[in-house]
């Protein structure tokens, strides 16, 4: 005989959790093993280890060994708070869902009735809002018997009553919620009935009319027997209703994941393009800059060699030219290397790295870095890149007289803000300047945001924010 396993709380996805979730009391009484590991997991892998009862060594089939223990095990759900919470959950649902349906009917009647007079149209958005409110309440209430149901994304208008109306009418998610309310008139009472039906039996046995002590005691015994089943049924049906609510008005995991995949694909594309543009820029810098310089140095040396005996002074002068050019090439290579990855960032941190970037600047640029040392590598590198690119742009294009760079964590400590300000001529265009597009791609690739305010005439403010935690977009 397989005992039902409803005494071990199970989450919707089939894994086993300990009973200590919201609203659940830990099972009281001596630890009792679930009926074999396979009984708990029902086909899935063993799931989480129940933190409550330990598995009996040997995995004995029955969780009790004496009749007294058997009785205690059977009747325990009757006194557990979980049972009565489920009871209440079903009851409230059974009452409120039909009421909600009635309200929906009234509103619908109003809307259609008054649609002719346009007033009806004005009621549509509030009606949907009411539906949303009710759905939200039901999602939270579902937390009584399981994990609270997360909110799905609903479409909103972009501003203005008309767009709000269109968003409501065109949103399949909102209509689904309407369907939820509409079907609730039948489903709510149905769940209540099924969940409570055995209690009716219990009551009948308890108050059975009959003569004699024997009948009375018999009735009580039967009542007690059925009570155990009734309690379990109540809990089970409540969980079913929880799943129903989650399925109906919870988030559409598939849709959410599909959206996220699209988002990530777009980000990836952006990053690939930015990396490509970077590479080409570096190649150009190397070829047009450094390579030319090296060939010119080679010419100087060759000419010096040709003169070394006939005109040693001229040869010496040429070699001096060669050294000057060499110094230029070395400097240029250093700049190119910094663009690739600055070693000073790894060794001495953001503050030192950015200070060295502004060190040679002809205009005063203040650097304020208020971040901890525990910044993730990719965040630090991106922050450095954005700031140093911004500084390079300022020096090259803006004709500013003063500029500032500020890095800080926001109040919650969850977001890194990068702010670069200059009082130059403005007019920076993130679409045209490939450096700016690369910055944006990098920042957005870390799920950050990138804003550039650069009106012609200036001043220019660049603001980027990069989340420091929970970057995979999961909702917890």
């Amino acid at each position: 005989m397989r005992s039902d396993t409803s005494d071990v709380p199970r989450c919707d996805d089939g894994t086993v959790s300990d009973g200590r979730e919201r609203g659940w009391a830990a099972p009281s009484g001596p630890p009792v093993s679930p009926q074999g590991a396979s009984g708990v997991a029902t086909g899935a892998d063993g799931g989480g280890t129940p933190a409550g009862p330990a598995t009996e060594p040997g995995g004995r089939a029955l969780p009790f060994s004496t009749p007294a223990e058997a009785a205690e095990w059977w009747l325990r759900p009757v006194i557990e708070s979980r049972t009565w919470v489920s009871f209440a959950y079903l009851l409230v649902g059974g009452i409120t869902w039909p009421i909600a349906f009635a309200a929906l009917l009234v509103v619908a009647a109003l809307v259609f009735g008054l649609a002719v007079v346009v007033v009806g149209l004005l009621l549509v958005v509030p009606a949907f809002a009411l539906v949303e409110w009710f759905a939200g309440v039901e999602r939270r209430r579902a937390g009584w018997v399981g994990r609270p149901v997360p909110e799905p994304a609903v479409a909103r208008g972009t501003g203005g009553a008309w767009s709000e109306l269109r968003a409501c009418l065109g949103d399949p998610v909102r209509w689904r919620h309407v369907g939820f309310v509409a079907s609730g008139v039948v489903v709510g009472p149905l769940f209540l009935a099924i969940g409570w039906i055995l209690w009716g039996l219990v009551a009948r046995f308890l108050f059975a009319a009959g003569d004699g002590i024997a009948a009375l005691i018999g009735g009580w015994l039967l009542a007690v027997l059925v009570a155990g089943a009734a309690a379990r049924a109540t809990v089970a049906v409540a969980r079913v209703q929880h799943s129903y609510v989650r399925w109906f008005i919870g988030p559409d995991e598939e849709a959410r994941l599909a959206e996220r995949v699209e988002e990530l694909s777009a980000q990836r594309q952006q990053i690939l393009e930015a990396v490509d543009a970077e590479r080409r820029r570096i190649e150009r810098n190397l070829h047009d800059g450094v390579q030319q310089q090296l060939v010119a140095i080679g010419i100087d040396i060759a000419r010096a060699q040709a003169r070394i005996e006939a005109d040693p002074e001229e040869a010496s002068a040429l070699l001096g030219d060669a050294r000057d050019k060499l110094r230029g090439s070395i400097g240029e290579l250093r700049l190119i290397g910094r663009g690739l990855h600055p070693s000073v960032l790894d060794e001495h941190g953001l503050d030192a790295a950015l200070s060295s970037v502004v060190a040679g600047s002809p205009i005063p640029i203040s650097v304020e870095v208020h971040v901890g040392d525990d910044l993730a590598d990719d965040v630090a590198t991106t922050a450095y890149y954005v700031a140093s690119e911004a500084i390079a742009n300022i020096l090259k294009h803006s004709a500013a007289r003063v500029a500032s760079v500020r890095l800080e964590e926001d109040a919650s400590g969850d977001v890194l803000r990068i702010t670069v300000h200059d009082d130059g001529g403005g007019g920076a265009d993130p679409v045209r300047g490939s450096g700016l597009a690369g910055m944006r791609a990098r920042v957005e690739g870390l799920d950050g945001r990138f804003e550039l305010m650069s009106p012609p005439g200036g001043p220019t403010i660049l603001a980027a924010s990069i989340p420091l935690r929970g970057r995979d977009g999961s909702d917890g």
Partner: protein, 221 residues
């Protein structure tokens, strides 16, 4: 007896490099009559000054892609008596073939790196100015590496392969002899063998046999 100085125009948008090449040519006895930085200025200078030689960088403003090649081809069309030597950052086979297809009199394609080997560079420049050809060794080695004719090439001895390569670069027999430090007679024998083994039409003029060899090597059939 002074040789007439060859009137030359240099076109390169990098001031540093342009300057270096000008001085180098000056040292070598060329008469640099103009040094310009873009394709239009080059064409103007050639029209006005009628030089004998133009040394042109492949990449110039505005797009920094192939302005030099296009200018070179235009000059070959409008001023066929002007010898043209194109300098490139790296081997661009497409440009090389564009330039070298057809008449290879007085045309050359070299890597900028070659400039540093001043003697070889000047020799190549003189060769082109005199109506010969100059094809960068790198281009030749790429062609030799990728050619579909490897079975035929296998018939050649290593020395003959060397000679073939130098012929492809545009060197005359004397040039090959100097480079390999052998006698002219030996070179002539090798050349003869190469033509026989590869079944090529005999070409005596260096610039024509460049074309023959390059066509042979570039054959994709």
């Amino acid at each position: 007896m002074t040789e007439p100085r060859i009137r030359t125009v240099v076109a390169d948008d990098s001031v540093l490099l342009r300057d270096g090449v000008v001085r180098l040519l000056d040292d070598a006895g060329f008469d640099v009559v103009a040094a310009v930085g873009d394709g239009d200025a080059l064409l103007d200078a050639v029209t006005e000054l009628e030089p004998e030689l133009a040394i042109i960088d492949v990449r110039m403003p505005p797009t920094h892609t192939d302005e030099g090649i296009r200018a070179a081809i235009a000059i070959r069309r409008t001023h066929p008596e002007v010898a043209v030597l194109v300098l490139s950052q790296y081997v661009e086979e497409r440009y090389a073939t564009d330039l070298l297809s057809g008449d290879t009199t007085g045309v050359g394609y070299l890597l900028k790196d070659r400039v540093v080997d001043v003697e070889d560079f000047v020799a190549a420049v003189r060769r082109v100015a005199a109506g010969g050809s100059a094809v960068d060794a790198e281009v030749v080695s790429q062609l030799l590496g990728r050619t579909a004719r490897s079975t035929e090439l296998d018939r050649l001895t290593p020395r003959e392969r060397e000679v073939l390569g130098l012929m492809a670069e545009g060197l005359s027999n004397q040039g090959i002899a100097d480079r390999l430090v052998v006698s002219l007679g030996a070179v002539e024998k090798h050349v003869s063998n190469v033509f026989t083994k590869l079944d090529l039409d005999r070409e005596d003029h260096a610039h024509r046999r460049v074309l023959a060899v390059l066509t042979f090597l570039g054959d994709r059939s």
